[in-house]
């Protein structure tokens, strides 16, 4: 099962991971990563914007690519948009597979591509001032791991 969603409100990853796991009887393992808004460096809020015609289709294609590359039983990608506060989940990626290594690697693969290859723009608020986050070189070296 491929389940990809953009969420506009705070979410509890467990509420999604449970049903996702139950949808794959006979699986060998589920690996889940949850990313949250870091509270360091005086960050007061983070805002993610997206472009609807490209962002969700791009995430769906990514999930399908990961599912086929790692021979998954299922993949779930949940991503927030809008304004988030430190400690709130931004992203939740789950992979269900017959064997653990495929699940670990699929989540790692999906996260690297979500970070540097998906249509999201982020800005963060510090001291009441919003600043756009620019691309980092690290993101490209993260992606190159999968070439």
């Amino acid at each position: 099962m491929i389940d990809v969603r953009l969420l506009t409100q705070p979410f509890n990853p467990g509420q999604f991971v449970g049903p996702f796991t139950h949808a794959h009887p006979g699986l060998g393992g589920v690996c889940t990563f949850v990313g949250e808004v870091r509270g360091e460096d005086g960050v007061e809020a983070l805002e993610l914007s997206h472009y609807a015609p490209l962002t969700l289709p791009g995430m769906e294609a990514l999930a399908a690519r990961a599912a086929s590359r790692f021979d998954l039983m299922g993949m779930m990608i949940l991503h927030r948009t809008g304004v988030m506060l430190p400690g709130e989940p931004i992203v939740c990626v789950s992979a269900a597979a017959s064997h653990r290594r495929a699940a670990f690697e699929a989540v790692d693969f999906a996260m690297d591509h979500l970070k540097s290859d998906s249509w999201f723009w982020k800005r963060e608020k510090r001291g009441g001032v919003w600043t756009w986050i620019e691309p980092r070189g690290q993101d490209h070296s993260d992606l190159a791991r999968w070439d």
Binding site: S49, W119, W121, R123, W132, I133, E134, P135, Q138, D139
Partner: protein
């Protein structure tokens, strides 16, 4: 439509423009905005589809053009 920091440069997330070739559309915008939109790292989508040959774009009535700056990453 202007995504990410381009919305700040434009002062608005979207703007109505007259139909016509892209070069004419850009010529009617403030110079600072047109320069930001022409940055080689900015991708362009026409009606939700990425366009490679940007110079060939001719806007028709009702088309949606989106300017997409590099994504933010980490």
């Amino acid at each position: 439509m202007f995504l990410g920091r381009l919305a700040d440069v434009a002062g608005t997330p979207e703007r109505e423009v007259a139909a016509g070739p892209l070069a004419e559309v850009l010529a009617d915008l403030p110079a600072s905005l047109a320069i930001a939109l022409l940055d080689e790292r900015v991708r362009v989508a026409l009606n939700g589809e990425l366009v490679r040959a940007v110079e060939t774009i001719v806007l028709e009535q009702g088309d949606e053009l989106a300017f997409l700056p590099p994504v933010s990453g980490g």
